[in-house]
Symmetry: C2
Amino acid sequence: MLIRVDADSPRALYDQVAASIRSDILSGALAPGDRLPAARDVAEALDINQHTVLHAYQRLRDEGLVDLRRGRGAVIAATAAPLADLAHDIDDLVRRAAALGVSADTLAGIVHAHRDARTHTTRPSSREEDSP
Amino acid sequence: MLIRVDADSPRALYDQVAASIRSDILSGALAPGDRLPAARDVAEALDINQHTVLHAYQRLRDEGLVDLRRGRGAVIAATAAPLADLAHDIDDLVRRAAALGVSADTLAGIVHAHRDARTHTTRPSSREEDSP
DNA sequence: ACAGTTGTTATAGTTCGCATAGAATAACTA
DNA sequence: TAGTTATTCTATGCGAACTATAACAACTGT
C-alpha cells in the first residue's frame, strides 16, 4: 500500500491520508486484520509530521475503520468489511454524476448534507418565484 | 425556501449555506430560473456577514449551479437541472450505507476522494501483511 | 435620466483549525 | 528487560474563515 498526499491541495493533509487509506479499504487492498505502517514511518516517508498521520489514524478510528492500540499499531477493524460492499455502488454513482457534469466534489457536498435529509425544512418564508 | 446554519457545526458557514441551497435544488424546491434572495437579506436573516453568503453563492457559481449578475441577483442555472436526476440515486446510496453502519460523513469522504480513483496508486512499497 | 437594488472588490482585524516541533508517558511485543 | 508504538502535553507559525466598513459597477424599475 502507498499513501499519497499533495501539499498544494486545499484539502487538509490528515484528511488526505485518511482518504487514501479509506480508498485502499474500499478497493480491497486493505482488509480487516491488516496492519497499517507505524505513524512515525508514514510521517517520515511523506515528510510530514507524526501528529498529522496520527490525526488521520484517529479519525479513521472515530469512523470505526481501524483499531488503535499503543505498542501494537493500527489495524483495520472488522467493522470496515461492509465498506467494500459499497465500492461498486459508489463508483457507479460517481460515474453517473460525472456524465451529467456534476463533479465528485459537488456530489460529496450533497452526500455530506444528507445527514438531515429527512428533517429537511423547505418551508417557504417569502415568495420569489411566482411569475414568469 | 429556508436556509439553515449551525454556528456550532465544524463545517464552514459558507459551506452550510451552499449545501442548504444544493439540497433545495436536489429536492426540486428550487428549479432553474428561480431567484435566490439577495445576499444582504440572507445575511441579515441568519445574522451572519454578507460576504459569507456571497462566498456560498460564488461557490455554487463555480459548480455551475447558479448564475450571478450584479443588479439582478442569483438565479438557478439551467445547468442545475441534471442534479435533480441524481436525487433518488444519492438517497438510495446514503440509505444503504447507513444500513451498513457507514455514516454520510464517511461516505462523503470516499466520494470526495474519487477524483483520482482511476489513477489510484496502491503499489506496495513495503511488506506488512504477508503472514498471520 | 434617475434612484434603488445587487453582486464585486478592497482593506483590515479577530478567531480558530492545521501543521509543525520536541518531549515525556503508557501499553504492548519479543 | 529492551524496543516499539500510540497517547498526551506544551508551544509556535501559518492560513482559512468570518467579521466589519466602505466604495464601486451593472442591472432594474419608474
